[in-house]
Symmetry: C2
Subunit: 180 residues, 2 copies
DNA sequence: TTTGGCATGTAATCCGTTACATGATTAG
DNA sequence: CTAATCATGTAACGGATTACATGCCAAA
């Protein structure tokens, strides 16, 4: 009887390897540190934790040091085993659906194309700025362990991609508004 | 009473500006020519067409020249109006969820990281090859009208991005397996 | 004659976000 | 006192894929 786990469940499980934490903390962690490439809502986190507990991959206990009703979740050995298997498997390719490209493709008005591409360029530049902040934060927090390497690699990924968007936009804009 | 249209419905509507066609043809067109950045399944196309007909943005008639039961859909003036409005609006940013990055982030085993990054690099290179084919096809089909410009721009987008992935992978691999 | 491609659609299911519902604690 | 933040969870809804169900026509 093989349980069918979703990426979300493994994400939740994997985050518990960083440290035992509550659903609330996990949500903060996701948005603050891996928000540039992953998101989880409460509507996913709490049900996932529940399923993981049912499957024995995670244990739940109430934090005695907290005045509030706070539940700390911790990964079990079985959880680590399953997580390792998932991590070793090839990441499933995410479906590509890009509304910007769709609008460009379906659009015959050059003015609109120009506007969308210009905006995309500005957004990419803004993303580069934000990635810079994140990188600084990451470097200051844990200076040079292996965890930091993985974090930096993910930042770099998005940096390369954002730079690619800027260059692409420049190329397209040059073609849209030539010699002037 | 404002209808709430999805991106899928506008995609379907927009494709009908290329030419009137059937649901089946649309599905072929999507996978063959814009598959690198957009996908639609029959489970989306047929219900969308139905809703668009109900809303008066599309008309449906049976193709008399076909022996089979073939329904040709055509965009109406009202459809064009609505489409124009949608095209002018800012594309909504697609949520970023990248399982590769998640696995890298959660992984402490360098061998697994190395494997995933190597694979990502190979996949990007393969994508570049496919984009090359698509570009040739596009250039040969309609040599130099405005439609071809839009098509090329979308291809270029993915080319820039795929090249960025290759460069990123090279950088990460260099750090994972230094001096040898 | 049987297989592959044309052709249409619906139903089941999955996965995700947003909205809802509730309440305690703490800082201003 | 009162607003922000901590904290937990469920319900409703939306949007997409996959599986299902059906059948004709053409070519091998």
């Amino acid at each position: 009887m093989q349980e069918n786990r979703t990426s979300t469940e493994f994400a939740v499980l994997g985050l518990l390897t960083l440290k035992p934490m509550s659903g609330y903390e996990m949500r903060q962690l996701v948005t603050q540190s891996i928000g540039h490439f992953w998101s989880e809502s409460y509507g996913q986190i709490y049900p996932s934790l529940k399923r993981l507990v049912n499957g024995g991959l995670v244990t739940k206990k109430t934090d005695p040091s907290s005045k509030r009703d706070k539940h700390i979740y911790q990964i079990t050995d079985e959880g680590r085993t399953q997580l390792d298997r998932w991590r070793a498997a090839a990441p499933k390719p995410q479906p590509t659906r890009n509304e910007l490209l769709l609008k460009l493709f379906l659009n015959e008005d050059p003015a609109i194309a120009l506007e969308h591409v210009t905006n995309a360029r500005l957004q990419a530049i803004d993303q580069l700025r934000q990635l810079g902040f994140l990188e600084e934060k990451l470097r200051s927090e844990h200076s040079d362990d292996s965890r930091s390497f993985a974090g930096l690699a993910t930042l770099e990924y998005d940096r390369y991609r954002a730079e690619a968007v800027v260059r692409w936009a420049d190329a397209v804009l040059a073609e849209l508004a030539p010699q002037r």
